[in-house]
């Protein structure tokens, strides 16, 4: 099937087989490997991208479905060699360890912050409830978002006994 879409601000027009997923299309056909596959069944959120501004699991969307859609992936998050505010705060707060969940996590949070510039901690947790992270324990991710939205009271640290 022929699809026309806007991906990271660029128009594309491609023939795609009916059966391939958006995740496969992004990674294999467009070389956008920043979007990761963690389970292939829509449970872990590693492949989260934005489709018309809403988060989707790219492994559950067929490439054929994106005709006419606007898709945003992690590769467009930093612009002109500059990190986005979210990325900056991820860096500052050590919110990324192995990093495999990070692209999906950033996309979920980007969508959250766009719609809700001052999310509560509960809203942040809910926004990433579908994004598994096995390394960080989520705390530093939550703090990064609080900092990015100007809500971090005091940066948490370890205590010395």
């Amino acid at each position: 099937m022929r699809v026309k879409a806007t991906i990271n601000g660029r128009r594309i027009e491609r023939d795609v087989p009916d059966s391939i997923t958006l995740l496969h299309f992004l990674r294999e056909d467009l070389g956008l490997t920043g979007t990761k596959e963690g389970c292939g069944s829509g449970e872990c959120g590693a492949c989260t991208v934005l489709m018309n501004g809403r988060t989707v699991n790219a492994c559950l969307v067929l490439a054929a479905e994106i005709d006419g859609a606007v898709i945003e992936t992690i590769e467009a998050e930093s612009k002109d060699g500059k990190l986005s505010k979210l990325q900056e705060k991820f860096h500052k707060h050590h919110a990324s360890q192995c990093g495999f969940c990070t692209p999906g996590m950033v996309m979920s949070l980007k969508s959250l912050v766009r719609e809700n510039p001052k999310p509560s901690e509960e809203e942040i947790r809910e926004a990433i409830d579908g994004n598994f992270c096995r390394c960080t324990g989520y705390k530093q991710i939550i703090e990064a978002v609080q900092d990015a939205t100007g809500q971090l009271k005091k940066p948490e640290d370890i205590h010395y006994a």
């Binding site: 920043g34 990761k36 360890q97 990093g99 705390k139």
Partner: protein, 802 residues
Amino acid sequence: MLENTRREDLTYVGRGVDRVDTLEKITGHALYTGDLRMPGLLHAKTKRSPHAKARIRRINTQKAERLPGVHAVITGDELDNRLGLYLVDKHVLARGSVRYHGEAVAAVAADTPAIAQHAVELIDVEYETEEPVLDPVAAFRRNAPLVHPDLGRYNYIKEVFTPLPGTNIANHTKLRKGDIEKGFKDADLIVEREYSNPNVQHVPMETHVAIGQWLPENRITIWTSAQSPFTVRNLFCHAFKVPRNQVRVFVPYVGGGFGGKAGIGLEPLACCLSRKAGGRPVKLQATREEEFSLLPCRSGLVYKIKTGVQKDGKITAQKMTLFWDAGAYADYAVNVTRASGYSAAGPYEIPNAWIDSYTMYTNKPFGTAYRGFGHVEVSWGVERHMDFIAHKLKIDPLEFRKTNALKPGSLTLTGETVTEHTGNVTRCMEAVSREIQYGSLTKAEKAREKRTGMKIGKAVVALHKAPAMPPFTATAVIIKMNEDATVTVNLALTEIGQGAYTAIAQIVAEQLRFPMDRIKVSLDSDTDKEPYDWQTVASKGLVLSGNASILAAQDLLKKAYETAGQVLRASPVDLDHDDTNVFVKHHPGKSVPFSRLAVGYAYPDGNAIGGPLIGVGQYIAQGLTNLDKETGQGLPALDWTYGAHGLVVEVDPATGEFNVIRIASAFDAGKVINPKTTRGQIVGGVLQGLGTAMCEGYIYDESGRLMNSSFTDNKILTAMDVPEEMVGIAVETPQIDGAYGARGVGEHPMIAICGGLGNAIHNACGADLVHMPIRAEDVWRAIHKIPEPPRTGFLRGKSCKP
């Protein structure tokens, strides 16, 4: 090493600097093995056993081979190569028989994953099923069917392990300390109880993936998500009898390991397919389902603890019998068994101890290393047991722990004397106890109980762990100075998310007195280019590679000073340096910049001296010994990291539902190199420990089929499960042979969380729990004393009577 350096004299060590590996990760540009593209790449899929135990009568691959787009089909018949880290018991593909449901029996490489999958479905396998052995206690019985009838013919490391041919025992580790009979005779009270833990999956977000290319004349390249490139090379070369210098293992970014990627995994199969496909590179990436059921997990455990204790709370004797459910192959499980054998009592002094730790083969997915191995599992029973005894004695459980805690002068289970430099577990317990206001409920907590109808309970638990590794474990680090006096650090310790490279960069910056932005740690590992490192495991990286980094930096400076001495006509002992220049101490105006020394110094007339500056640091664990095979006595521990957790938990007595309100965790880190990465390890490890404690675990049916091999039924914790408050605390008792006094803390946050949760729940509502994980329904049953239904395929209701 440099353990007494004062905090105020440190510029980079001890500071929460930014991680050196995140920029690529947060922009999506970090390339993991599965992201690599190369010309001619083929894709592989495996055909897997539908039976837990069966003879393979016949495999017909003809239809698969004829499918267009298929380049290689391979079965176990063609591969008489065995793998094994400590006990060499596993073929690359099942050969002759299958030993667990999900084991790979054949594999295909094809143009696309879809074609490979189609071809796999065309492979026809005829099996003759046999009765599997599915629980470790049943496997121990004299007449149990044997998982490995050929055990007596396998190679293994004889100095360390003791397999018993003719049984399902892959290893028996013994620990004998003091006089156990006398110890029990001296006791006023003897408490004996059983505990159990299920198999658990590591769940790295990146599933295992390997690309193998096997060219003519045995020139082999492997790209892999492995934690330990040199161990992959070593085991590969053992199995295929090829020289080490013919095999190159390349590890790019790794999407989490937690021990599951510590050894060798999919690499040999990808390479064998490549050899058969004429040398085209072949990629084999596990699906999430395969991550659960093809690849290894954490071993299950059934164990019995018998403790003798005096009225005043002093433990006099402890006898433990542990049956590790290792599954079909020994892999790391034999070493997990060994580690639990020498440390099973937790951070407590047991004057008279008797431990039998058995690695039991069963027909289930096999066990491997998992963060804190031998300790996370055993700490569940030990910490529940400590509370149970304390309650029997009517002594406060924290006081009971402190009475028995290891302290200077104590002898560990293996006879090592604890000194004031070993670390301080009592301070860890006291720190978390203060943090959670242990001993009573605060006003706010009482109000919360009233408001919610929930019951709040608190608990303090303690833990310890030393790296489980060979006594002669070694590593090396190379630092190369570039023309502009920046440096590049090469090491084969891999960065798997733990933050090791950031700590190494800080240590190198501190030693060189160069700013952090002049230090680059090369972010991938390549056995052709990096110097040797044994493995990225066991929380040993900071001590071993940290020390090697210090030595490499000192070596680099020494070489710079040698050339500078000639340039400045001064002896190297009279030289000093700042971040730019080497200068004569007593004539600071006489100096030469590092940038003019970096690749050799050239005089104005063109004459030159020196050469490219390269610092080399080697470090090997020192003074450790193998353990006596009859008594377990010896020195196994590079360093002991002690820790403690304090938990505040609320339980609904009507339903058994519970929330973890607050966790405080303290570790004697020796020296915190980076408080932010340390906190990352603490928070992440504690949450992983909570997952193990609350919900994770394999469930099998009666035939040994894994029933929950997906995230739908085998959940991990999400952001919604994070406790309201998590506090990380560092105690700093410097480790004499640690880099700047540091000890590892990577694994420790996960240990004893399970026991802490069980104890806090018990203290809240009286539920007496002995099986992990603790689900709401388990708490409800325990509160109402309703017998638990048998945990299928694991305990099956049978009691553990060796």
